[in-house]
C-alpha cells in the first residue's frame, strides 16, 4: 500500500477530497457549483495528459477529440430520450411551449430540420443507457488505438505526433460541422432534458451531478496513481528519457505508448460525457484545435508531472478565465498565453512544482510529528 500511495500522495488525495466534497459544495451556490463541475470535466483530460505527456513524453494536441467523442456519445443518448418525449405532441401543446411537433416524430430535432426520416444506424446503440456508457469509453479508446497503432508502430513521435493529433482535432470538428443532419452540425446537440426521466436541468440535479463528477475524478486519480506506480509507470518514465534503452531492455515501446494514449483518451471520454450531463449540451467547438490546446495549458499550468496538479490546473485556469473574461473579454487569450509562457519559463513543473517545494515539506513535517505523538501516546510514554 505504502508503495502505491506514499504519505505525500495520500495527503494530496485527502486535501483534494475534502476540498471537492466538503469545502466547495458548502462555499458555492448552485450556479458556481455547476461551473466547478464543468471545470472538473476538463481535469479528466488534463489528467490523461499528465500520464501521456508528463510521464510518457507523448504530447497530444488533439485530446479535445476524445473529450468530444465522449461528450457526443452521452449527448446522443440524451437527445434520443428528448426526441422520444416529443412523440405524440399536438399543435396545441406546441403553442403552449410544452413540446415540439416534428414531421418525423421520435428522431432528434436537427434530423427533422434536415428532412431526414430515419435514424442513422450509428445512433442505434444510443437507445440503451448501458450501451451508451460502454460507448463513452470504447469510442475514444478505439480511435486512440487506431491512431496509436498507425503512429507509434511506425515510430512517429514528438512534434510529428503532436501535429498529427492536432490535424485530427481539425478533421473531426469539420466532420461534425459538415454533417448537420447526422450529428447536429455547427449548433451541436442541444436541448437535452432528461436521463431516464430524471430532469438534469434542475438545481438538485446539478448538485448531484457535481458530486458524481467529483467522486469520479477522485476515482480517476486513484486509478492513475496505481498505473503510474506500477512497473508500467516506470517504463513510461524510462521511455521518456531513453527510448532506445527501453527497447533494448526487451520492451516493445510502441505498445506502451499505445496503452497510455488509449488510457488518456478513455479518461477524456469520461470527462466529455460528464461535461454533456453537467452543461446540458455538446458543441463542435469542444472538439477542435482551440480546446485541445487549452487542455494542454491546464495540464502545463497545473504541473505536467503531477496527477493532482492536473485537477488544480484545470480549476485555476478556468476560474481565472471566468473572472477575467467577465471583466476584459478581449484580453483573456493574451492573459492565458502569458500564463503559459510564464509557466514554461519560470516554473516548468507548474503549480504542483511550487506546491512540492514550498508547501509539501511543511505538511509532511506536521504529519510526521503527529505520527510520533500518537505512537508515543499509544506506547504509553
Amino acid at each position: 500500500m505504502s508503495r502505491l500511495f506514499p504519505t505525500a500522495s495520500r495527503i494530496n488525495l485527502l486535501i483534494l477530497a475534502v476540498l471537492l466534497l466538503i469545502v466547495i459544495p458548502i462555499g458555492l451556490d448552485e450556479f458556481r457549483l455547476n461551473l466547478v463541475s464543468k471545470y472538473l470535466t476538463f481535469s479528466f483530460v488534463a489528467l490523461g495528459l499528465v500520464l501521456c505527456w508528463g510521464a510518457g513524453g507523448i504530447l497530444s494536441l488533439g485530446q479535445g477529440v476524445f473529450f468530444g467523442l465522449g461528450g457526443y456519445c452521452m449527448a446522443m443518448f440524451l437527445k434520443l430520450e428528448a426526441a422520444q418525449a416529443d412523440i405524440g405532441c399536438t399543435r396545441a401543446q406546441q403553442e403552449l411551449g410544452e413540446c415540439i411537433v416534428q414531421s418525423t416524430p421520435g428522431i432528434p430535432d436537427f434530423m427533422d430540420w434536415a428532412s431526414m426520416t430515419e435514424l442513422p444506424f450509428f445512433w442505434l446503440p444510443f437507445n440503451s443507457f448501458p450501451l451508451t456508457l460502454i460507448m463513452v469509453l470504447v469510442v475514444p479508446t478505439a480511435l486512440a488505438y487506431i491512431v496509436g497503432v498507425a503512429m507509434f508502430k511506425r515510430r512517429v513521435g514528438g512534434v510529428y505526433f503532436a501535429i498529427i493529433t492536432q490535424a485530427l482535432a481539425a478533421v473531426l470538428s469539420i466532420l461534425i460541422i459538415g454533417n448537420a443532419g447526422y450529428i447536429g452540425g455547427f449548433n451541436g446537440i442541444t436541448d437535452l432534458r432528461t436521463l431516464h426521466g430524471w430532469d438534469i436541468r434542475t438545481d438538485d440535479a446539478k448538485v448531484l451531478l457535481y458530486f458524481v463528477t467529483a467522486i469520479l475524478i477522485l476515482l480517476a486519480l486513484v486509478v492513475s496513481q496505481i498505473v503510474l506506480k506500477s512497473k508500467l509507470g516506470s517504463v513510461l518514465i524510462a521511455m521518456r528519457d531513453q527510448e532506445d534503452r527501453v527497447r533494448f531492455s526487451g520492451y516493445d515501446v510502441a505498445n506502451f505508448k499505445i496503452f497510455v494514449f488509449c488510457f488518456g483518451a478513455a479518461l477524456a471520454g469520461v470527462g466529455g460525457a460528464l461535461f454533456t450531463l453537467n452543461v446540458g449540451f455538446i458543441h463542435p467547438t469542444f472538439v477542435g484545435i482551440v480546446p485541445s490546446i487549452e487542455m494542454v495549458i491546464f495540464c502545463a499550468i497545473g504541473g505536467r508531472f503531477s496527477i493532482f496538479g492536473a485537477v488544480y490546473g484545470a480549476l485555476a485556469v478556468n476560474f481565472a478565465k471566468t473572472i477575467f473574461s467577465e471583466a476584459y473579454p478581449e484580453l483573456w487569450l493574451f492573459a492565458m498565453g502569458a500564463m503559459f509562457i510564464g509557466v514554461v519559463l519560470a516554473f516548468p513543473e507548474g503549480l504542483a512544482g511550487l506546491y512540492k517545494v514550498y508547501v509539501e515539506p511543511h505538511i509532511l513535517k506536521i504529519v510526521r510529528s503527529m505520527k510520533t505523538q500518537t505512537s508515543n501516546i499509544s506506547s504509553g510514554k
Partner: protein
C-alpha cells in the same frame, strides 16, 4: 584452428553483412564468428563501422544484405525487443540509463519478466526481483546506491549500471560499446575486473578505443577498417600486423 569447429560452437555468425547509407558502404561484406564463452574485442579507427556492426546485430539499423545468425537462428528480420528476448544484450556508447528512476528501479525494469503492457501493469516486486537486483548491484559495485537516483551517479557508475541492467537479463551474448569511455584510471581497472567476471559462461563483444584496456582484457581481436575485417587474431599478433600499424596503431 577454425576449420575444425562445427557451427554448433558459434553463438554468433555474421556473414556477408553489408549496409550502405546513401550509397556509401559503412559495413562492407563483413563476416566474422563469435564462439561460445568467447570475449572478443573489436577495434578500429574512427568511422571503421564498429558501432554500426552492433546496430546491425541488435536490430537498430536494418542491413542492406547479408545474414546474422544467433545460436543458428537468423535474427536479421527480428525486432529489437525480440532480439533481446532471444538473448542478446547491448550497451550503448554513452551511458543510457533512466536518470529519473532509482538504481533499483533501473535494474527492476531490466529484469526479464512482465515485459508486455499488462505484464508490466500487474508486475509484482517480489523477493526474487529484489534478491536478483541485489546480486547484480554487488557485481557492479553499486550495492550501497540502490535507493539513490540514477542521475546522482558518477559517469563511471552509470556505465556500470548499464552493464548491470544487461546482466540482470542474463544474456548469452553481451555487446558493449566502449565501456571505459570517460572513466578514471581506477574505474578502468575495476571495469576490466568486472568484464573478466561477467564474461564467464557467456560470450562478450567489446568495442574499444583504449589500447591499454584492450591489452588487459582481450585474447582475440578483430580489427575493422572501412567496414571490412582488416586483421583478426591474438592481440600480440595483431599489434605486429603492418596493415594494422599503418591504419590504426601508427596514428595513435
Amino acid at each position: 584452428m577454425e576449420l575444425n569447429t562445427s557451427n554448433q560452437d558459434y553463438v554468433l555468425s555474421v556473414e556477408n553483412l553489408t549496409v550502405s547509407f546513401d550509397g556509401f558502404k559503412v559495413v562492407d561484406d563483413l563476416s566474422f564468428k563469435i564462439k561460445k564463452n568467447e570475449l572478443r574485442v573489436i577495434i578500429g579507427p574512427n568511422g571503421a563501422g564498429k558501432t554500426t556492426v552492433l546496430d546491425l546485430i541488435s536490430g537498430k539499423t536494418p542491413a542492406t544484405s547479408g545474414s546474422v545468425k544467433f545460436q543458428n537462428k537468423e535474427i536479421m528480420k527480428m525486432k529489437e525487443h525480440e532480439i533481446v528476448h532471444a538473448g542478446i544484450g547491448r550497451k550503448f556508447q554513452t551511458p543510457s540509463i533512466f536518470e529519473d528512476l532509482t538504481v533499483f528501479e533501473n535494474l527492476e525494469i531490466s529484469f526479464p519478466r512482465g515485459r508486455n503492457v499488462f505484464g508490466a501493469l500487474f508486475f509484482k516486486r517480489d523477493e526474487e526481483v529484489k534478491a536478483r537486483a541485489l546480486e547484480i548491484a554487488e557485481i557492479i559495485y553499486l550495492k550501497d546506491a540502490m535507493d539513490q537516483s540514477a542521475a546522482s551517479l558518477s559517469h563511471g557508475q552509470k556505465q556500470w549500471l548499464e552493464i548491470g541492467m544487461l546482466l540482470i537479463q542474463d544474456p548469452d551474448l553481451l555487446m558493449l560499446d566502449e565501456p571505459v569511455a570517460g572513466m578514471s584510471a581506477s574505474e578502468r581497472v575495476k571495469t576490466a575486473e568486472l568484464l573478466n567476471k561477467i564474461s564467464k559462461g557467456r560470450s562478450v563483444i567489446v568495442i574499444e578505443h583504449d589500447m591499454k584496456f584492450v591489452e588487459d582484457i582481450a585474447h582475440w581481436v578483430t580489427v575493422l577498417h572501412q567496414g571490412r575485417v582488416l586483421s583478426e587474431g591474438l592481440m600480440e599478433d595483431v599489434q605486429k600486423d603492418p596493415k594494422v600499424i599503418e591504419v590504426y596503431l601508427g596514428h595513435s
